[in-house]
């Protein structure tokens, strides 16, 4: 397999919440059209790192980064970068489902509408497509114009994924996207991720090591703010170099 292009790359990244150093000198490259999984114990900085990749932490008071993050070889923390454009390229699904307090339909087409797309048919088409992709269509097709807040947790999360897909970003960041889903939906999402990989670069945080094993091409293991190990998923799971990784994946940790 020839080496793919690096879609996203972190170089010597430090991240701080005020004085607290949450990420320590992280350097890692995420290849195009591949799935990269972040694993590690709770609080190790997975979410923090994921959120620096589309500058979502910009809004947290006292948060700052040092180092570089390259998207298509351009530092996204440059002055002239427009975060809204950045985020259209780098979509995101969060750990806790966060639908807008609007109708289901409005949630899905939101990203398109803000881009100025008004064509009703196109919007409806996209809504249906993405809702089907996320296995939600059958469940919600009769209540597209009802509030999204009345959905169950799992339904809400799938809606958020659908919403992110609707703007067809080139990178998709997912922070434990399936942690609130049942196995069926999870399997579908995993399938979907596999599908999406053809056109998208995907970065996913997961607690589920089986999931990481199933869907990712590369896996990064974080521990207490450090990137302990980064390798092909198979390699990492079968012959980890670091004992901490070893301990973690075999569940013999802590």
């Amino acid at each position: 397999m020839k080496n793919k292009k690096n879609k996203l790359e972190a170089i010597g990244l430090n991240a701080y919440y005020g004085d607290f150093l949450a990420l320590k000198n992280i350097s890692v490259a995420m290849e195009e059209n591949q799935v990269t999984a972040f694993i590690g114990p709770s609080g190790c900085g997975k979410s923090t790192f994921l959120r620096t990749l589309n500058r979502m932490n910009d809004y947290i008071d006292g948060f700052r980064v040092e180092g570089e993050i390259l998207l298509d070889e351009q530092d996204i923390y440059r002055k002239e970068v427009r975060v809204d454009e950045l985020r259209k390229q780098v979509g995101m699904v969060f750990q806790k489902p966060n639908p807008f307090p609007k109708t289901i339909y409005e949630n899905v087409v939101y990203g398109l509408k803000i881009q100025g797309i008004k064509d009703k048919e196109l919007l409806m088409e996209t809504a249906e497509n993405t809702l089907r992709q996320t296995t939600l269509w059958e469940e919600v097709k009769d209540k597209l114009h009802k509030s999204a807040l009345a959905l169950s947790g799992g339904q809400q999360q799938r809606l958020c994924i659908a919403r992110a897909l609707a703007i067809s970003p080139s990178v998709l960041l997912m922070d434990e996207p399936t942690s609130a889903l049942d196995p069926i939906s999870t399997a579908k999402i995993e399938e979907l991720i596999y599908e999406l990989k053809k056109n998208y670069t995907i970065v996913i945080v997961t607690h589920n090591m089986q999931q990481a094993g199933r869907i990712s091409d590369h896996t990064a293991f974080f521990y207490m703010g450090e990137l302990v190990e980064f390798a092909k998923t198979k390699t990492l799971f079968t012959s980890p170099k670091d004992t901490r990784t070893q301990n973690y994946i075999t569940g013999r940790f802590g």
Binding site: Y59, D84, L86, V93, N98, F100, I114, R163, A164, I167
Partner: protein, 291 residues
């Protein structure tokens, strides 16, 4: 434990019920004199006559000119305060950094603290002469400058309360919007403002209420000339102005002239009641869509 819960709930209920008592008290105070008033003046002419001259030798009791005056100044005030106040709220919440917000918000709240008589003189001696240079034919007393200055006065009601409402929207919603590539403006108007609509609406209602009830400012700067007009360039009189002038004036209490203020008071009461019902209805309809 359980009884104490009951007692607490009872006390809380009592606090809420007091507001009903207040209303009852107001209606009682107003009605007792209004009944006497309407025994002398027909309700029809009160509601339809286009002139209000109860203190002149030839008395006419048409409330419409006072209603028009109140409506005019309130509308101008809201036309000033709503866009500016809401823009400030959004700007502070979405664009400004936390320390700027922490300074500016309380500073603006000072605007609501300045005694309204000061605003009145400001409107009369600064704003009106300034406007006269732009708008020839603007009278020395007019609804325009009084309304505009009143708008400035109620900006903090809208800006502060709306900002509170917007910042109470869960952070995750904002992140979702940003995550979709929204600009700050789109986040604000597409997600935050709708999600905070109830609080924003309340701030607007409070602001309108304040504008409707404001007295000294309009008494000084808008004139005391009841006139059935929507022309903002001429002197008018609001219901509140009339009430305060008569109740603190030299008119004998208990006379028909004095009773007019109670009839005006009732009208104002009914007026705001209708307004509130409408906004309540709008709010309910609007919220059903999302909740």
């Amino acid at each position: 434990m359980r009884t104490s819960e009951k007692i607490i709930e009872g006390l809380l209920w009592l606090s809420a019920a007091i507001t009903i008592l207040v209303t009852a008290g107001i209606i009682w105070v107003l009605l007792s004199e209004t009944v006497a008033f309407f025994s002398e003046v027909s309700i029809m002419s009160f509601l339809t006559d286009t002139e209000w001259t109860p203190l002149f030798a030839v008395k006419r009791f048409g409330i419409l000119p006072l209603v028009a005056g109140t409506f005019l100044t309130t509308a101008i005030a809201i036309a000033v305060a709503l866009p500016i106040g809401l823009t400030i709220a959004i700007y502070l919440n979405e664009y400004a950094n936390a320390s700027f917000r922490a300074v500016v918000k309380p500073l603006l709240e000072i605007l609501a603290t300045i005694p309204t008589v000061v605003y009145g003189f400001f409107a009369l001696t600064v704003v009106t002469p300034f406007l006269q240079q732009i708008i020839p034919g603007l009278a020395g007393f007019n609804a325009l400058s009084a309304g505009m200055v009143m708008g400035i006065m109620i900006i903090p009601m809208i800006s502060s309360l709306s900002e509170d409402a917007i910042s109470a929207v869960p952070k995750s919603l904002r992140e979702a919007a940003y995550g979709m590539g929204s600009t700050r403006l789109q986040t604000a108007f597409g997600v935050m403002v709708p999600a905070a609509s109830s609080g924003i609406l309340v701030s607007i209602i409070l602001a309108i209420s304040r504008a409707v009830g404001e007295t000294m400012l309009v008494a000084i700067a808008a004139g005391q000339q009841p006139r059935l007009t929507l022309n903002p360039l001429v002197p008018i009189e609001t219901m509140t102005t009339y009430i305060v002038q008569v109740s603190l004036g030299d008119v004998p209490h208990g006379s028909l002239e004095y009773r007019t203020i109670f009839a005006v008071g009732i009208t104002l009461f009914v007026f705001t009641f209708a307004l509130n019902n409408i906004s309540f209805w709008i709010k309910k309809k609007y919220q059903e869509k999302y909740d």
